[in-house]
Symmetry: C2
Subunit: 279 residues, 2 copies
């Protein structure tokens, strides 16, 4: 089948690599506002052909929208009305606003809202890698609003990437990703800023940065262009989780002030419970 | 030379492995309050011999104290008075209090205060691995208070592990590690707690936990027995850094409340500056 991927970055490019490799796609068309990304993708043979949006839609059996989430909101009204017999899916990190837009458009059953839970702190076509999705979970949201044929095609595509599928509604998705993804990014951005503000005075400290530090600030390298619209669209949930996180940190703070190290020990024992989940 | 390692855990055990492998030590003696750890270390042939403290001190040329930092404070007064011609070093994550104790003891010049900046979220002899220290930094504190011979022996030992050496005073060390190690642990413990409190209601969300989440909460698996005394001994610096970290998070919070996404974008651009330091 011919697949058109709109947005040839980390996610779109990595999908292109794997869908070509596993034979799910016979022909991959790239559409991107950035001509240089398309040229790189062509030279790396990640895509077979670069088109503009109209031609990309016209030639495709399956259209994958893999742009930053605010662009997805703009693109869906330009795409869905044109696809009587094609399937359209997105891969955005937020789902409620995207579903809201899709639900008001013609050919809604041809659309499948998804979010593959995979990525790295890097972005752009340069960051596209094989096997990015292997063994990870993807979310399909409000599958009941997609036609059985459209949902089946998208499920088959994800299974070809060796992904596991979870079904959620848009609200559940946005609350859960606030907890298991979005807050990690804010925490990491904030940790980097905390230390960078110190660094103005003392360059030397970074020689000492341990691997533990590197792992907690890794996400602070993430793209502001990608993350600003995610925080905008999931603002309410992110704010709730951020409040809780600040309140847990304040608990540590107040126990340090009181020198209650027994209670600090107990908090860490509880935090160790994360081993059950991430062995 | 014969090296006695007191505390055969992640650090002591990993040192034993590498110092035997590279030939720096001809004989390694393990001392540990936990008999089971010693038995495991003997069975894995990480140590050649298990002794009690007195015999371990008597037989050694170099004594490495690799216990949790509150035990180090207790052990130094039991060890230093007995070592006229031996070298004693510690590997603790805090330095000011340990130096304060050492500075009041006989044979102070035989002691070298160090902190190899290497570790994992795991602890105990089971976690000991080869090459843990390879290419990393170690700190030597107040080297001028050690005899040239003692300092030279310890430097040679660290160079044999392929470590780079930084020289700091105790206060500099404790401030810097608060920034590049201790705050990462608190942030990670707090993130795990934030999410675990949510999990009581909704088990399912963890299926979705992304690799980004896994990397930011990895340190939350760390040992409360090791970290409680670190936070006790470095409480003032950790509190300063924690205050700054909470204040950066509160800046994100207040910008989210005001929906000032341009300023949030700008904060993330600044946080990206961490790429200069951790490419």
């Amino acid at each position: 089948m011919t697949i058109t991927i709109i947005g040839i970055g980390l996610i779109g490019g990595s999908m292109a690599i794997s869908l070509k490799e596993n034979g799910f796609a016979s022909h991959i068309i790239g559409v991107d506002a950035n001509r240089e990304s398309l040229d790189k993708a062509l030279r790396r043979r990640i895509i077979d052909e670069a088109c503009d949006l109209g031609e990309g839609i016209a030639k495709a059996d399956l259209i994958i929208v893999a742009t930053p989430v605010e662009v997805t909101l703009e693109l869906l009204p330009a795409i869905l009305p044109k696809v009587k017999k094609k399937v359209v899916m997105d891969v955005g990190s937020t789902k409620q606003q995207i579903l809201q837009v899709a639900n008001g458009l013609p050919n809604r059953p041809n659309f499948v809202a998804t979010h593959p839970m995979a990525g790295t702190e890097h972005s752009g076509i340069e960051a596209a890698i094989p096997r990015l999705f292997d063994g990870k979970y993807t979310v399909i949201c409000e599958a009941e609003k997609s036609s059985p044929e459209a949902a089946a095609m998208v499920e088959e595509m994800y299974l070809s990437l060796n992904m596991k599928i979870a079904y959620l509604n848009g609200q559940e998705h946005d609350v859960h990703t606030a907890y298991v993804s979005h807050i990690s990014h804010i925490s990491s951005f904030a940790l980097a800023l905390t230390v960078l503000e110190k660094e103005r005075d003392e360059q030397a400290i970074f020689e000492l940065a341990s691997s533990g530090f590197a792992s907690t600030v890794r996400l602070a390298k993430s793209s502001p262009e990608m993350w600003t619209p995610i925080f905008r669209q999931n603002r309410d949930n992110v704010l709730d989780v951020l409040d809780e996180h600040i309140s847990v940190l304040s608990r540590f703070r107040s126990l340090l002030i009181k020198k209650d190290f027994e209670a600090i020990h107990q908090l860490m024992v509880e935090a160790n419970g994360i081993r059950k989940i991430l062995p």
